[in-house]
Amino acid sequence: MQNREPLGGSGSRAGDWSGGDPEQAGAAPGEEVRMIVLVLLLLANMLMAQTASGELKPCEPILTTFYPGWDSKVPAHKQARVEIRNCGTADKVELQIVAWTAYAAEPSAVLKTGAGRIVWNRDPRFQGGLRLPTVQRDNADNRIVRVVMAGNVFIVETAGEGRSLVTVLLFERGGVWVPSQKDSDRRLPVELYDNTVTLTSWSQNGTQWKSTYSTGLK
């Protein structure tokens, strides 16, 4: 399994944590407790990404597949790709995002969709009852509303039950990285400029955040 962590890059922000709004990101100096919470949330993001492919299995069927760089000499099932799968039924779609690196036998990331909520779960790896925040997604999204793909950067926005989820995937250094999964009640602006993709989001207090990712294209 790939070793994943939240990517910094040029645009990663402290608010780029999974499953909600980065309200804490605008903490004023001295608000140590809030910063500790933020660090823990970032850690939760990392843990979730690391365990995503280990705990979840790809569902069937595959609804659609996207290839960040098509190589006509390589069979489709051996290429790097992002699949949107259905874990539900034909009548009740439950979307799942599965990302593969080239020639991989196992997916690098298997991600749930749907609105997230923070739950504090006891981590069995730590003695003493340490609880860590994790993102729980109970109701999966049922439709794709946007896809942006440019070079190494893949952004998909899924929706359901009044909110949407923006998932960012990066194909870099032989792996798939998940720097961000953001819940939102509005469509988040995306800009493709030169060799970068910029995603804009807002915290609950209205603070604007811009995350810029390099496409790796020349």
């Binding site: 659609t64 006509s72 509303v145 946007r146 942006v148 440019a150 602006p189 030169d194 496409t215």
Partner: protein
Amino acid sequence: MRVCYADAITYDGFPQIVAWSASSSEPAVLEDGVGIKILGFVVTETVFVLASESASRQLVYVVTYEQGGFRLALHAGSKAKPTVEVSEEKVIVKVPPEEGGEPVTVHEFPIHAKP
């Protein structure tokens, strides 16, 4: 509804841009035999942008879905890469000028999203 189905795209060579409506048995061919390399794309509910390059130019194609059908709404080229902005309600494509000193050409395409 589907357009630019990724499985069918040949990234280097002469890809077709075809569009299928939900009930159509045959796709509409919107662009054929273009010698391009696909650099990226943007898919929204009703606006689809394909960014590509040929040997000498940056090319952008915009396909829109309106009133049950697709149409090639924009096919533009420039020496420099276009900028694509996706907001809540529209897609904006900014095509740089061929020569310095000329203005950037701005094209706007509204997204007709489902409620």
